[in-house]
Symmetry: C2
Subunit: 228 residues, 2 copies
């Protein structure tokens, strides 16, 4: 018997996990705020049990902070946190580049090239939101090509935490241009299956991104918003 077709309703805490993660990543629940447990339970029509199970998982993921007997709080993002997260993300991204070059098919390269060209269009039109979307899709496609689910899980978990910094608003024209140039190199390395080179570029690419985030975090109002 093959169990792959068996009908399984996902449990409530798994469903909630997705919703809560989105609320935090999208910034609906901003860093530093208390997670309104009762309110969320009412909103999603569930009892506290699955909600609290989901919160425990999010705590391990680093998106919320559990204060014993005082409830759950949305994690703040400090510069120190990012200084720790980025090198790890860099290592994972470099690995994803290496593995992608080993496994990637021509079809997958073509798909990425298509995304790349779309991204360039968005860049030319200075459509930051769409640029960002295409950008993210490219990195996801490389991850997909790397074909390593452990890597994917870990990378996504870190990416989610960085994403909610919404650093994009702080992207300078100069930085943007550089990012696009780096993406040309990324595509080229992928096309030629130059794993080591791609790893190196992706690391550099992420380092530049970190600088953007760092600048963003250093601007006064942002520091307030995220760390108070």
């Amino acid at each position: 018997m093959n169990a792959s077709e068996s009908i399984t309703r996902p449990s409530l805490h798994i469903e909630l996990l997705g919703r809560l993660r989105d609320l935090i990543i999208e910034g609906v629940l901003p860093p530093g705020t208390k997670v309104p447990e009762r309110e969320l339970c009412e909103r999603y029509g569930v009892s506290r049990t699955p909600m609290r199970e989901a919160l425990k998982v999010l705590a391990v993921d680093g998106l919320v902070w559990l204060e014993p007997n005082r409830g759950a709080w949305v994690s703040k993002i400090t510069i120190k946190d990012l200084e720790e997260v980025f090198p790890v993300m860099g290592a994972l991204e470099a690995l994803s580049g290496e593995l992608a070059c080993e496994h990637i098919t021509d079809d997958q390269v073509n798909a990425i090239r298509k995304l790349h060209l779309e991204m360039i269009e968005h860049y030319k039109l200075r459509d930051l939101a769409k640029y960002f979307q295409a950008n993210q899709a490219i990195h996801e496609a490389i991850l997909e090509a790397a074909n390593n689910s452990e890597l994917t899980t870990m990378y996504r978990s870190l990416a989610a935490r960085v994403r909610r910094t919404r650093y994009l608003a702080n992207m300078t024209d100069e930085r943007w241009e550089k990012a696009v140039e780096e993406h040309e190199q990324i595509l080229s390395a992928l096309e030629n299956r130059h794993g080591a080179e791609l790893a190196q570029i992706l690391r550099q690419h992420l380092k530049s991104k970190f600088e953007t985030v760092r600048n963003w975090l250093n601007s006064d109002q942002r520091v307030k918003q995220l760390t108070e």
Copy 2:
């Protein structure tokens, strides 16, 4: 007011998390077995609520598998899983080497040298258990010197999963000798703060380890034990 001294009792699910993790890593609960929820609740004198919270967290960690409406099962380890885990561990270990070389103090190097010499003694006496213990302590010390809590968390989570393969029994004399040689290089690179070199050695070191594990997994009875 400084909250650093405030008294906080850890919640039950956190306590349980540690106990359960140990039970799985130590092999008391072998891969593929059902997690005896009721039994464990009685054993630790807790209700099902915190126990189930802990299981949800372990599921995210990859140590247990939750089958909807059928309970929790200790995750099996397949060769395919390890083929995914090892490259990721390699990348993380390489990073830990790089970062350690940037930050490590002379005291820390001395401590590692001491551990290294102890390890060599255990090797000469062919005391596998003690050798393994010292070995693990060295890798932990490098991780400590890297001074990156994100990295530490991720590395430990993967290391725990690999550790429970108990591959050591399968270590050949030849392999053991090679491992010791690699450790000489590790110490030397650390002493000289050669980050890139250390990263490279650690990656190689882990790759050899993977080969040992792979051989171990390929021996018939082990495959049965872990995957049936």
